[in-house]
């Protein structure tokens, strides 16, 4: 008993230490750097920040864009999840899988695809201009609304997937009970379903908000004169104004945390556990044939809209270099780009790099998330709030900053202060990816643990199973749907990671996104698109794998 207690103490300490070392320590370095000058410590940079109107405007823009993104994403994602989880209609499975398609487009690739489609000379824009006979393009894909549209498009997936996973865990007996007690559909939704889903929805809101605050590709490409904090930081760093960049980082982090904190309390304050009996949920079959066709049509149209950017990317990937100028649709198609892609030996490298680094990061992040979930939800250790905070903290810090922080912290060899030279090695990218995806796996694991009835574990323990056996045979299988959702999102994020990579990559360790950027730089739009398609397929494979586990886990 004693030794096992000591063992668990060591375990708790280890989890704390790893998280603090990976998540907090580098950011602490950033904080120090923000007030350090050659002459000593100073706050003048902060005063300058607060006195500069453009900086304050950028900060406010970041906040309202993110809040609007959460609202829009929820509006799209939650109803969609209810539709696909609650109703049976022709093509449900296929359409349901397609509805998660935006997740296949990594940030940079997605923005570029949308630019090809809805940009001023994009296919859709030119088409509408042609049909309506307009002099000018019908819209300009620039500024706040362009960013917002791209955000909502790429981030509603969080709401969709999380709600889907949340609904899968709810025991349908609850609904039957509500119905037999005379509750109508609306009442059931408001009083039963939504409260049960609260942890899930709050988790999705947090993720969306933080992703949006840290979003870089969309404002970078589409922002025009509209600035947000991430682009400010990037520009300051580019100017060589590292001190200013650090201050901007700290300010962005501070504001994020200020908003994150009440949101996470809202999430933690409402814990409901649905007693699990292992009944399989039943979908309402849309009875009338016309209604079924209608639902399928609406779902199909919505999904078509979501898939257009992918199709555009696919189309452009067949366009030979320089052949597409003022025509609405590219006039020439060939396999040239793909042949080039596979005939050059160096093109395989980024793909392998991305696969390895994303897998390693996912495994590490899942392991850490499960450990934290066990500590926070089951053992209720002291400092559990802190642990939870550590899990989400990386979202409060933009990828660029994490990358700079890691690069600064791990460019010296001081084993006594736990600093090693990792710069220039694949390890620093894997560390960056792990930290970046930690909130994804962490949120999923915590939500999973919360909805997993502890009596199952207690039963296992009373039947004589040790803690490891309980974890392996009871807890992990129960967590599988949540973990699979979190892990597939994490893997996908790692595969397409761009913002941190651009600071930390070397030629040997360059991931796919960086390769796409260099193709783009070289005006090889077709080749870049071909790369994007390849990445999309890779991500799709990974995602389908996760989906299978998700469904397998629910059925069990």
């Amino acid at each position: 008993m004693n030794s096992s207690r000591r063992g668990s103490r060591v375990f708790v300490a280890l989890v704390f230490a790893v998280l603090i070392w990976a998540v907090v320590y580098p950011n602490f370095v950033v904080l120090i750097e923000s007030v350090r000058t050659e002459g000593g410590l100073t706050l003048t940079r902060y005063l300058d920040f607060l006195r500069t109107e453009s900086e304050l405007r950028a900060l406010w823009s970041s906040v309202w864009i993110s809040l609007a993104t959460v609202a829009l994403s929820a509006l799209v994602g939650v109803p969609l999840a209810f539709l696909f989880a609650g109703y049976e209609f022709p093509g449900r499975r296929a359409l349901g899988a397609l509805a998660a398609m935006p997740v296949l487009l990594p940030p940079l690739v997605g923005v570029i695809a949308i630019l090809f489609l809805y940009g001023e000379s994009g296919i859709a824009s030119r088409m509408i201009q042609g049909i309506l006979g307009l002099e000018e393009p019908p819209w300009r894909l620039q500024g706040a609304f362009a960013i917002l549209a791209v955000h909502a498009y790429s981030m509603y997936v969080y709401f969709y997937l999380f709600t889907l996973a949340g609904l899968a865990r709810v025991d349908p007996a609850v609904f039957e009970a509500a119905a037999s007690l005379g509750a109508g559909r609306l009442r059931t939704l408001v009083r039963v379903t939504l409260p049960l889903l609260t942890p899930t929805l709050a988790g999705a809101s947090l993720l969306t908000f933080m992703t949006s605050m840290a979003s870089f590709s969309a404002p970078y490409v589409l922002g025009g004169g509209f600035r947000v904090m991430t682009t400010q930081i990037f520009n300051s760093k580019l100017q060589g104004e590292l001190g200013v960049a650090m201050v901007e980082t700290v300010m962005l982090a501070a504001v994020s945390l200020l908003i994150l904190w009440p949101l996470s309390r809202w999430e933690g304050g409402r814990e409901y556990v649905a007693p699990g009996k292992g009944t399989r949920s039943v979908r309402v079959r849309v009875s009338s044939r016309w209604a079924a066709a209608g639902v399928a049509l609406v779902a199909g149209l919505g999904v078509a809209l979501l898939v257009l950017p992918h199709l555009t990317l696919l189309l452009v990937s067949f366009v030979p270099d320089g052949s597409w100028t003022t025509q609405t649709l590219p006039p020439v198609y060939s396999l040239e780009n793909y042949v080039e892609l596979f005939s050059e030996a160096r093109t395989l490298r980024p793909i392998i790099n991305s696969l390895i680094m994303a897998s390693a990061a996912t495994v590490a992040a899942v392991a850490l998330a499960v450990a934290v979930g066990q500590l926070v939800v089951r053992w209720g250790v002291r400092g559990k709030k802190l642990l939870e905070g550590l899990l989400i903290l990386p979202w409060a810090l933009p990828g660029t900053v994490l990358a700079i922080a890691l690069a600064t912290t791990f460019s010296v060899s001081q084993p006594l202060t736990l600093r090693w030279v990792l710069v220039g090695t694949p390890w620093i990218l894997m560390l960056a990816y792990t930290v970046r995806v930690l909130p994804l796996t962490g949120r999923a694991a915590l939500a999973g643990f919360r909805q997993l009835d502890p009596s199952l574990e207690e039963a296992a323990a009373s039947l004589g199973a040790g803690p490891w056996r309980t974890l392996r045979r009871v807890t992990l299988p129960g967590l599988l749907p949540a973990l699979a959702a979190g892990a597939s999102l994490a893997f996908v994020t790692g595969l397409g990671e761009f913002v941190a990579s651009i600071v930390l990559y070397t030629h040997r360790t360059r991931p796919i996104s960086i390769e796409i950027l260099s193709q783009l730089r070289d005006f090889d739009l077709g080749a870049a698109a071909a790369y994007g398609v390849l990445l999309m397929l890779l991500v799709a494979g990974a995602f389908l794998f996760g989906q299978r586990w998700l469904q397998g886990g629910t059925a069990a």
Partner: protein
């Protein structure tokens, strides 16, 4: 299952990172673009089969940023390309290893960096470029100030000046001209403000700029000559050498301080300035070269023409170096995107 995954991951990792060919890797950071870089990679590797040249293509301001970020553990061996003033700044921050190449005496005096920290290999003039399908050559702007004419309002596309050495040089030239003529920066900022009002968009990278020019989202841009020549057939671009003169920036090369392959880095620098390296750049990559001992009849026609027509503008590079950041910061905070569109 999980143990399996970890095992597989480690095994694949060992394969991917461990093996590879046994050649020495020489890492080159450069803004010069894939075509030119592949060209020099292949020639250099043919001369030195034991070396594997690997280049990383990015904007010259980004190269400076990266070299600075990585100074504790340098990843690059050679920094190939970018305005001399960027190299000056890097030299001041002790990011460069002084090296005097064998050809140091054969290039223009302004191509010899102080303290041997860098040397210029190419001369890159800034030009006005336009879509030759949309704009008749007789109609095209002839000089910098013509770009501000009302008929080009909303027709100007510009590469994001913060990341681009070319654009910073042009902006710096405008500011320098203002100080020269009026003794103050106000006129220069006013010019940039008017340019901002003409500008439809600041474009993320050169590729997107070419794409947008090709699709006639805008028809005028300010850019550098070699890049315009390189893509002119694909994008239908033509260029104008401004009548009042244009800044000609010295495009440098340097060995990065603490470079892992210092010796090969120096060999690479030697090759770039050699007669062979210079002729290759002029004939196959549209570069105007800094060597003075190559007769005109061995140069391509376009270069002979440019040399004849080009009016180099006097620019105080030291002033651009000391005040450039302040100007760009002001422009970013107070001018960019303020113009009425």
């Amino acid at each position: 299952m999980k143990r399996h995954l970890i095992g597989i991951t480690l095994a694949v990792m060992a394969v991917a990172f461990g093996c590879g060919d046994s050649r020495t890797v020489l890492t080159v950071y450069s803004p010069h673009g894939k075509e030119q870089l592949v060209l020099f990679e292949e020639r250099f590797e043919a001369l030195h089969p034991e070396v594997d040249v690997q280049w990383v293509d990015m904007g010259s301001q980004e190269v400076l940023d990266r070299v600075r970020s990585e100074s504790a553990n340098p990843q690059a061996d050679v920094w190939y390309g970018g305005p001399a003033l960027f190299f000056e700044r890097a030299a001041a921050d002790e990011l460069l290893e002084p090296y005097r190449p064998s050809w140091a005496g054969s290039v223009l005096p302004e191509a010899r960096g102080p303290g041997d920290h860098y040397f210029g290999v190419y001369l890159t003039p800034a030009v006005i470029a336009y879509n030759s399908e949309a704009v008749d050559s007789a109609e095209a702007p002839r000089d910098w100030d013509d770009v501000l004419e009302p008929r080009w309002k909303g027709e100007v596309l510009i590469r994001d000046p913060l990341a681009s050495g070319t654009m910073r040089t042009i902006f710096g030239m405008i500011m320098y001209r203002s100080i020269q003529e009026t003794g103050d920066t106000a006129a220069g900022y006013e010019w940039l403000r008017k340019l901002d009002a003409q500008t439809k968009e600041y474009v993320l990278n050169p590729a997107l700029l070419y794409q947008k020019l090709a699709r006639q989202e805008g028809v005028i841009t300010l850019w550098n000559l070699p890049d315009v020549l390189r893509v002119q057939d694909r994008v239908h671009l033509a260029y104008v050498l401004p009548e009042s003169g244009t800044p000609v920036l010295v495009d440098g090369v340097a060995v990065v301080r603490g470079a892992e392959q210092g010796e090969w880095a120096r060999a690479f620098v030697d090759y770039l300035g050699s007669v062979e390296g210079q002729l290759l750049a002029a004939r196959s990559a549209y570069r105007n070269i800094t060597r003075t001992d190559i007769p005109d009849d061995s140069l391509p026609d376009w270069l002979v023409n440019v040399k004849r027509e080009l009016v180099p503008m006097e620019v105080d590079w030291a002033l651009l170096e000391t005040r450039g950041r302040e100007w760009m910061r002001y422009w970013d905070a107070s001018i960019r995107g303020q113009g009425v569109r």
